[in-house]
């Protein structure tokens, strides 16, 4: 049971991370910076609860806001470049953040032990959940409430004017400008929102693992962050969730019985999935079929 709850938590947090990249990908930008924002949110939220004794919700909001503001500052220069250059720029930023935490020491005494980030040793003893009597189930519920709130917000955004603007920039920048859309403002906003969402994910992550270190926020995590929405498809937010379930639930956990062969198959299956479903797991056709299924059911209910 605990294993399943743990997996539920992991899927929730990774979906939040994937959604943070989803927003940026809508504008056609590929970002490898999401692990950096995730790390900022994680460290700051954990420091606020562990060292300053804050409640977790404001701590996470502050951590996410800092990540969002940093994204905004980084976004202005970074988004002047596109494509591969942006990949390089955001990778460099992600590594910069990781190495910052690698060198960051700030410990204070709490009872008999020292707590706080300790450079390469990481940040141990983030014991907010056990200290406040949260069970694994409570934590899983907490994560999913936040995840669903983010998904609903993005779903609504997707269907609003803001979503249309993001997609317009993603489809054709020149055409978007010709109807009067401000490219820089749109991209930087998407980047900041993505940074904020990644920061929220990081804040939860730090607390449920209780121990974070710089290596958690490497390029590998950043790669996962963009792999989820790309594999899931950019048609709507549910694609990202399905992709996380597919990768973390089915590939990583489901293939465990295969031992070392798992890693080989893991990559191969993602390649197969992208070939079979080049527009993502949840593409326009799936959306249409599901939509039709719901409408006929409603039609029957009405009759």
């Amino acid at each position: 049971m605990d294993f399943l709850l743990g997996l539920t938590q992991l899927i929730g947090v990774h979906t939040i991370l994937g959604l943070s990249a989803y927003v940026v990908l809508l504008t056609g930008q590929v970002t490898i910076a999401q692990a950096g924002f995730f790390g900022i949110g994680a460290y700051i939220a954990a420091m606020l609860t562990t060292l300053a004794g804050w409640h977790i919700v404001p701590a996470m909001l502050v951590g996410a806001s800092v990540a969002g503001v940093v994204a905004c500052i980084v976004g202005f220069p970074a988004l002047r470049v596109k494509g591969l250059m942006l990949v390089v720029a955001t990778t460099a930023f992600g590594e910069f953040v990781r190495l910052f935490w690698f060198n960051f020491d700030y410990q204070i005494a709490k009872g008999e032990i020292m707590v706080g980030p300790e450079g390469g040793e990481g940040f141990k003893q983030i014991r907010y959940f056990p200290e406040n009597g949260w069970t694994t189930g409570d934590v899983a519920l907490f994560i999913w409430v936040i995840l669903i709130a983010i998904m609903l917000a993005l779903w609504w955004m997707d269907r609003s004017r803001a979503g249309a603007v993001l997609r317009a920039v993603g489809e054709d920048e020149l055409a978007a400008q010709s109807v009067g859309i401000n490219l820089t403002a749109t991209k930087v906003t998407a980047f900041a929102v993505g940074g904020f969402i990644a920061g929220i994910g990081g804040g939860i992550y730090a607390h449920y693992t209780t121990h974070i270190e710089h290596a958690n926020f490497s390029v590998l995590l950043a790669t996962f962050a963009i792999a989820y929405p790309i594999l899931g498809g950019l048609t709507n937010v549910t694609g990202t969730l399905f992709a996380v379930v597919f990768i973390q639930g089915i590939l990583v956990e489901g293939l465990r019985f295969m031992g070392d062969w798992r890693n080989l198959l893991f990559g191969a299956l993602i390649v197969v999935a992208m070939n079979v479903r080049p527009r993502g797991l949840i593409d326009e056709r799936v959306v249409m079929i599901v939509g039709r299924a719901f409408s006929t059911r409603k039609g029957r209910a009405d009759a």
């Binding site: 249309a164 997609r167 317009a168 489809e171 054709d172 978007a176 400008q177 010709s178 109807v179």
Partner: protein, 240 residues
């Protein structure tokens, strides 16, 4: 209504426009001819603020709009039908039209819906395809959508960058009919064309742009008589 004064626009070291001066009159169809690489599209992008000129000024209704952001220029009343149509391929026709009204933040939703209805009446084929992805339309339909999208901004001046590019002769006829209709309804038009024969039938004034400079400026009559233009753009046989 639009005055371009000594505009120089460069890509890095290469000056694509080397001091262009021209004006577009209110209620007129003004046509810009020129070979590939003359700088026609660069001029369009400079007027709409997508490129910033290195020198010179662009004035619209006696107000300096040089170097303003594209959004401000659309709001001032200039809309562009970009070269190669550039519809948003993975948005529906209706979404493309709505995107055209992006800068009209002051308009009520009902007003924009009315304008969309007007576009569907002007281009009935767009109504038939309103829920279809724009990328699945034919070239001619995409061109109509691109024009309709620009019109959704309610421009006073419509810039059209080679609307006949890559379209079958019959569709080109249709596009030029649209140009005439729009002009009749009171829109001033600045048209970039390579199809000089078609342009001769609609335009009131001509400019020829070659290698970043205006090399001819005159009425359709003067243009038809100009020997160089005859040879290069109209393909008529020399009579001498």
């Amino acid at each position: 209504m639009l005055e371009v004064q000594d505009v120089v626009t460069a890509y890095g070291k290469i000056e694509a426009l080397k001091g262009v001066t021209l004006r577009v009159g209110e209620g007129q169809i003004t046509c810009l001819l020129g070979p590939n690489g003359a700088g026609k599209t660069t001029l369009m992008l400079t007027i709409t603020g997508i490129l910033k000129p290195r020198r010179g000024s662009v004035r619209f209704h006696d107000k300096d709009i040089t170097g303003q952001a594209p959004g401000g220029i659309v709001r001032a009343g200039i809309a562009l039908v970009p070269e190669n149509r550039l519809v948003f391929p993975e948005m529906t026709v209706a979404e493309n039209l709505r995107a055209g009204a992006y800068s009209r933040t002051g308009s009520a939703a009902s007003e924009i819906a009315n304008d969309m209805e007007a576009m569907y009446n002007r281009f009935p084929r767009l109504r038939e395809r309103s829920t279809q992805m724009a990328g699945t339309l034919s070239g001619g339909e995409q061109q109509m959508l691109s024009v309709a999208r620009a019109l959704m901004a309610r421009p006073k001046l419509l810039l059209m960058d080679e609307p006949s590019l890559g379209l079958a002769p019959m569709i080109v006829e249709e596009i030029f009919q649209i140009v005439r209709d729009l002009h009749k309804d009171g829109t001033s038009i600045f048209l970039v064309e390579q199809n000089a024969h078609m342009a001769l039938q609609v335009a009131h004034h001509f400019y020829l742009l070659e290698q970043g400079r205006v090399t001819f400026d005159g009425t359709p009559g003067e243009m038809a008589e100009d020997e160089v233009i005859q040879r290069a753009y109209l393909g008529t046989r020399q009579t001498a």
